[in-house]
Symmetry: D2
Subunit: 429 residues, 4 copies
């Protein structure tokens, strides 16, 4: 994420300190996330395009080494020349038609080696920031910003992957113990209305974010209403128990095929034991809480539920228009609770627009009018996924946002269930 | 396609005659299309979700029998009770998890049996129209209309499938001999400009068409320009020869994967022999004609070409807005030339908006604002494909339109190359 | 099969006439076999490594053209140069990693073209035999002998493939009408004893046959008993109905895996309709005849049945030793009944050692002591299959033997069920 | 392996002590083998039907718990009831069509937990032996014998699997450091002759071993010669460099297919770096030693080499006949060198008949005459693999033999290369 907001800082010293803080916070957060994991836990990978936590630790470090230290730190010596090859992005490996190493087989280097690698690189980066001239600070900040954003994205993936890997163990181990939480009063089934008309959406410079989130542009909306809160586990359970997964007319053709190929009968991580639904979480297996937002559903499941409920998913411009006029932050990675929470009914809705669960929209991921794929920098890669993906909005309980805005766009294939994905309903007014 | 335009006819007698004419035209056209095929040709199927021509002959007949004759013709006796099962839609078979018969293995019933089946059903339908009371005619017309539209769709598929099956034969047999055609003057590389603003698009009752083509709604457009003609084979050859198929940065991630998995190096049906490009057509292998619209490219190839050319694909609302203000019909199934033609430069562009090649747009196939999936009738099925498909506009040289309008929407997966698919470029003004 | 028996003929004229007779008989038999098939039937192929009957017609002709006419007939002009490539052995195509044409898509050349091809080649071969000098006759006879043996092998395959293709049609069409047959008295459940000791087995020159059937060698046998007739459908039905297909302890590990992967619950071509077992035959679907030899069972099924019955399959040397001392010929292709028959109780057993069903043995296919793979000629290929195959003995009702002996060895993968394969039991004395 | 040799011991006390010794030796050896492995190493699994070392540790313990302690030790409390399900044989899981846990994902229980599990079970077994009455000792010895043999088999697998897992790591880590070894003088290229005739082979009671190694029976052999030592790396390198992997005529049809599907160009673990062949070993990557026996070749490669060399593989009866009259033990697991060694030329050959490498024979794995599959005990399982496997003889450098004899039979699929498999040549005299 380009560091545009740094521009506002007064002095070079402030900028330097801010950069150090952001770097340390991102790196420290990753270290904190692997705290509960044993060396063996760090090795497990349960989905083909996932990665073991150990690899996330090393690969994020590799990006700092190869895009910040090697280009900008004179005389920098790589921690271990083998690591330059071993931990590079797999996409890049795949490109050359040379298979990369099978990540889950890298028992060596050991966890201790990887942690030393992190320390080595952390020290070198801090030294580099310290030594940079004021003139060098700009370009350094830009590249550090990318690597920090990259590290944050991997934090979300790390928790997403370890959750599934633990789920694959019949013992259903917990990632950590659940914190004590105050009781909540779930918000009512309210709706927010909008009169439609010409609206403006999309990121505008200098707001922080990615290129595919702009340019800002006008969209014409018909009048609509948006649910004030995400669909809850209780509501989704009603759909499951009404036979929604067996009613073909509710499903997209591709969704029905996925449902049958994969044997879906409920959201991922739901299981029935002794007649009662349980949900697997990073805190282990828990009784289903009907007030929580439903999570780990594919777009197909969200879409089928909406059809069953006589509603529809919101278009992304509808979602953004409502989000732009409220300030509703839920539970994000920084909050420390690693599961969607039953919302707290405070003030008028909408609630939990940002946080708890990524929210599927009815919009396919595509370029905004006037969008041009940027050259060169890593972010440009988003433009390469503008087919076969659906847009999600809002961020989840394991998303490490620094500066999310209503314009933030995420995208996934419609059959994805691995991420913390939920949805809220909409309808024509 | 609902028979809404029938409402305009004056008398019952007119309606009856019109119905007979439309029925006979559709059925006769299919018979005409299999004219050049031997019993053996009628058996071949080269793509898994394709079908042999013989099955198209029988299955279209089956729909008249099961949705028109059996429900509405008292005392009707099915031609052969086995056929009711044998020729039903495969989707329906698949639904019950019972494999349907493998279509390409149905050497029995013989071709002669199938032709008798067609005659039997044709006679019974004409008799039914003749005997229907004025009150029955409405509902009959509605169901006949659906079965006629279905037969027409299968005409396009039949030619699409037989083309690929012949291509799979190293002898490259021709479906028929090419007609003599007058020389054409290819249209210039012109562009049509539009100032943008709020426009109205989508089908409006009582215009004929499908439910997913409406409701009519407003869209805001930025100023843009649309190419006056589709991209030509010559232009696409330049892309191929410039190494476009090897330049990863031009391709969607999924497109690049498809390209590598399938080994694409040029459009489907292109091959180089003795240094010269040839294109396989329903008239056999022909030297590449640089003036013809390029055809049988996937959306990924169209999108990559546009990026290479510094342009983009048009949004479907842009395409429709231009199409609505001109009357540009190219080569359709009724025209009798079964290959895209180099356009004729007549009057001001745009040219060939309708006909010759289906034109990919940048728009993912999704519901229009206010769209509700209809219940009951066959067309409802379109709403089931509103994921992972891209919109195409305009129709091709093997599309049997009766009443196409600028609002006509078609959709395919972005990796499809089997249909007669091309594209035209657009750019921001 | 080398034409060693020709050596016994007295004069050149006799040799010439004998060669003509054998050629015409083999070619005429193939033509006769496709008599009941329509052009559409000739196109169907239901197993990946099968072939349509049309291709068998053409490919056998191709071998005469390429290994007899082109090398030995001066001035011979190929019927169609394209055919040389189109109809060559697929193994050869595969070798070059170039996919051969997909056989089932060759609607062109037409059936009429193929029949003309056969006539052209037949005429040219007869002319060649007629014109050959006495000195040329030897080498010509050798190559013709190979091509004739090849044609005969393809006769068995043609019937095997068309049977499966018709089975794949829900209408279960019959290849031909069943002939009237006299009633038979099934033979009793007798056993033939052997005292064991050193025996000699294997083909000895100049007996006709293949290289892998020799050299003749000594084997030591323990005393054993061999069933006087093959296992019958009635006996096998008892195994099926006793739950044999569900009892894992009866099955080889690989067999159990095959059973589960393929969903075997009975022999191929068995199906239960309205409570009664029916068997699909070249005469269409027939009620199961309990007296007939069971057929279309894999080696795994034969082995499991034997274990269930407290017996075992015979070793091939045991089978051959018994076969060598009796003269028991059953139903072969020449007999004209294309299905295993319930044996006729005539004289002392064993019965049906040769004919009706190929009989699985417990012996893996491997080289005899002293075996050396020959160079050059087509038969050498048998030595390439000496892994993962089991030996079968005796020949089936669709095997076109000229000179079978007790030493005749056939081999198939243990999971094969497509051929007319049955078995008889053995036990230690 | 049934404990038949215990019968010879004089007193109950001797029997008890012998049992304790064998138990402790087997259990201690496994613990010793995982000594060099980190917790992360214990997690890795690189072949689908392999297992992580941690699972081998737990599963072998599970067999003692479920077949010895639970049935025979009154009042025994399982260490952890979950483990009874978690560590059971996968074949058993598969049988119920319920997928077992994915072994490589079991990061929990931790290594420390597993080691505690081993200690718990070890203590309970020793206590049980100590407390058993003299009458109980027989049945206890029988079941302990099976579990000890099972543990030993897993020792060989553990090293086989970890070797491949380390090979899959681009860093090519070593399992342990190589010991200092005295130089050897490789044995000459000698041959051992045999006159053939009737010989006796197979295990005879009360010699120790498995049921499929008997009964003892007579076989007739033609005169033959057997190589005095296994084929060496140097000899095999000559085959590789002469293009043996590209010459189709040398290969079985299935072997050629495997070669092409897998891309074989040399034995497993061979790689060329900077023009020189290196071989990956449990001691890391080493320069190829031409005097060592070649290892990790499939039967297809052994067979192709033999054909290229104008020889053949020995029949298993030939191998056994020669092995029975000499006393040639090479390098086994107990020896402590975990790689095939270049033999030492001491006395007359044959050399290394037992140890260093398993030796492929030309014999398919099948039942001996008179063989009957036993009921009940675990060993019975060998009879289930008597299809699609080839016999190996002799044992390898990681085989933990207690009482191998010339009759010892091992079997693998002909495409296996994972085990320490080599071969020696034979020829007809």
């Amino acid at each position: 994420m380009p560091d545009t907001h740094l521009a506002a800082l007064d002095t070079e010293g402030d900028r330097r300190r801010s950069l150090v803080t952001r770097f340390q916070k991102a790196r420290g957060r990753t270290a904190e996330l692997v705290g509960p994991l044993s060396p063996e836990d760090l090795m497990i990978q349960s989905v083909p395009d996932g990665a073991p936590a150990k690899w996330h630790l090393a690969h994020t470090t590799w990006l700092f080494e190869t895009t910040v230290l090697i280009p900008f730190s004179q005389g920098y010596r790589p921690h271990d020349p083998c690591f330059l090859e071993l931990f590079k992005a797999r996409a890049a490996s795949a490109e050359g038609r040379i298979d990369g190493p099978v990540l889950r087989l890298l028992s060596r280097p050991s966890t201790a080696d990887i942690l030393r690698y992190r320390d080595h690189v952390n020290g070198a980066v801090l030294h580099l920031i310290d030594q940079a001239t004021d003139g060098e600070l700009d370009i350094l900040a830009e590249h550090l910003g990318i690597a920090i954003a990259h590290e944050r994205r991997h934090q979300e993936r790390l928790l997403t992957h370890i959750k599934h890997a633990f789920w694959s163990n019949p013992l259903r181990p917990a990632y950590e113990s659940p914190p004590e939480l105050p009781a909540t009063t779930p918000p009512p089934d309210d709706w927010v209305a909008h009169d439609g008309g010409l609206v403006e959406v999309g990121r505008e410079e200098p707001q922080p974010g990615f290129d595919h989130e702009g340019p800002r542009h006008r969209v014409f909306l018909a009048p609509f209403r948006l649910a004030a809160r995400p669909v809850s586990c209780g509501e989704f359970r009603a759909f499951v128990e009404a036979g929604g997964y067996g009613e073909r007319a509710l499903w997209m053709a591709d969704g029905w095929e996925a449902l049958r190929a994969e044997g879906w009968t409920a959201p991922l991580y739901w299981e029935k034991r002794e007649g009662a639904w349980r949900v697997f979480t990073l805190y282990g297996s828990q009784p289903l809480n009907p007030d929580e937002p439903v999570c780990h559903v594919s777009w197909y499941e969200a879409d089928a539920f909406a059809r069953w409920a006589g509603k529809r998913l919101p278009a992304e411009a509808e979602w953004e228009t409502i989000a732009a006029r409220c300030d509703s932050v839920g539970n994000l990675l920084g909050t420390g609770y690693r599961h969607p929470r039953a919302g707290t009914y405070r003030g008028a809705g909408p609630w939990q627009m940002c946080g708890d669960v990524w929210e599927w929209t009815r919009s396919a991921f595509g370029p905004y009018p006037g969008y041009r794929q940027p050259d060169g920098l890593d972010e440009a890669v988003h433009g390469r996924f503008m087919s076969n993906r659906m847009v999600l909005r809002g961020g989840s309980c394991v998303t490490p946002f620094d500066h999310a805005g209503p314009w933030t766009r995420h995208y996934l294939r419609p059959d994805s269930r691995l991420s913390f994905t939920g949805f809220r309903l909409a309808e024509d007014a």
